[in-house]
C-alpha cells in the first residue's frame, strides 16, 4: 500500500523535476514518433495559424532578445535556451505555456510533433 502511495507521489512530483531542453525535446520527439525538424519549427513559430497572433507576435521573430506581450506590453524574457538559462527546464511550466499559447495562436493544443519542432529550432538559436 505504501509502495503504491509512493509511486503515486512520484507521478505527481515527476513532471516538475528539473530537466534540460534536450531532455524535453527527447520526450516530445518520442511522443511524436518522428524526428524533430528545426526548420519546420521555425516556420511554425513565425507563421500565423488562422488567427491574428503567431508565436513570434509576442516572443519576437528570433527570440534571443526579449519579446513583448501584444496586449499588455509586458516584457517577455527571451525564449531561446541560449539566451535565458531557465527556459525549458521545467516540464510542468513548459506544458502550461504550450497549453495557453497554442490555444491563443491555433485555437487548439499543439501536437507533440509541433512542440518538438519548435523546441528543436529554439535550441539552435544563438
Amino acid at each position: 500500500m505504501r509502495n503504491a502511495l509512493f509511486s503515486i507521489l512520484l507521478i505527481g512530483v515527476a513532471p516538475s523535476w528539473a530537466a534540460t531542453p534536450a531532455e524535453l525535446l527527447a520526450d516530445y520527439t518520442a511522443q511524436a514518433g518522428q524526428p524533430a525538424d528545426a526548420q519546420r519549427g521555425q516556420q511554425f513559430f513565425q507563421n500565423q495559424h488562422g488567427k491574428s497572433w503567431s508565436c513570434a507576435t509576442c516572443h519576437g521573430q528570433t527570440p534571443v532578445t526579449p519579446g513583448r506581450h501584444a496586449n499588455t506590453q509586458k516584457t517577455i524574457e527571451p525564449l531561446a535556451p541560449a539566451a535565458h538559462p531557465r527556459r525549458f527546464t521545467q516540464a510542468s511550466k513548459v506544458e502550461k505555456w504550450f497549453r495557453r499559447n497554442c490555444n491563443d495562436v491555433l485555437d487548439r493544443a499543439c501536437t507533440p510533433a509541433e512542440k518538438a519542432d519548435v523546441l528543436a529550432w529554439l535550441i539552435t538559436l544563438r
Partner: protein, 145 residues
C-alpha cells in the same frame, strides 16, 4: 498640529494600495503577462468570476491547473476588494472600467493612452513606477512621452 499630521497621513494613504504581501503564486501566475494587480482593486465577486473564466481571459487563454487556481481563488477571496470602492462591480470585471478608475484618470486624454510607451490603461507601470508594490501615489506619477 496633531490633526494636521493626521490629515496629511490620511491623504498620503489615499493612493497607496499596499495591502498584504501578495501570495507568491498570485504574483507568479497573474503577473506573468501583466502587472499582478493589487487584490484590493477588484471586488471579490469579480475576482472569482475571472478565475472561473481564465480560458477566455480578456481575449487570451490564461488557464491554470485546478489546484493552483483554487489556491489563488482562496487568497483573492480573503484579500479582494470590499467596502466602498468594491460596491460597484466594474463592467466586464475590468479594473480600468471601474467608476473609481475612470474618475481618477479623467484628465488623461485618449491620445495619451495611445502612446506607444503606454498603449493601454491596463499598463499601470507605464506611468506608476511603483505599481507592482501597490503604490499609485500622485506625486510619483510620470507620464512618458
Amino acid at each position: 498640529m496633531l490633526s494636521l499630521w493626521l490629515g496629511h497621513s490620511a491623504l498620503a494613504w489615499a493612493d497607496s494600495y499596499r495591502g498584504p504581501k501578495p501570495l507568491p503564486l498570485y504574483t507568479e501566475e497573474c503577473g506573468s503577462c501583466h502587472l499582478a494587480y493589487p487584490a484590493q482593486l477588484l471586488p471579490k465577486a469579480s475576482w472569482h468570476r475571472l478565475l472561473m473564466g481564465l480560458d477566455h481571459h480578456f481575449g487570451s487563454n490564461a488557464s491554470l491547473d485546478p489546484k493552483t487556481r483554487q489556491a489563488i481563488d482562496t487568497w483573492l477571496q480573503a484579500y479582494g476588494g470590499e467596502g466602498k470602492r468594491a460596491r460597484n462591480v466594474p463592467p466586464d470585471d475590468r479594473i480600468t472600467r471601474a467608476s473609481w478608475f475612470e474618475r481618477k484618470h479623467r484628465r488623461v486624454a485618449k491620445a495619451t493612452w495611445a502612446r506607444p510607451s503606454i498603449q493601454s490603461p491596463a499598463n499601470c507601470a507605464a506611468c506608476h513606477p511603483d505599481a507592482a508594490a501597490g503604490d499609485f501615489e500622485d506625486d510619483d506619477v510620470s507620464i512618458p512621452q
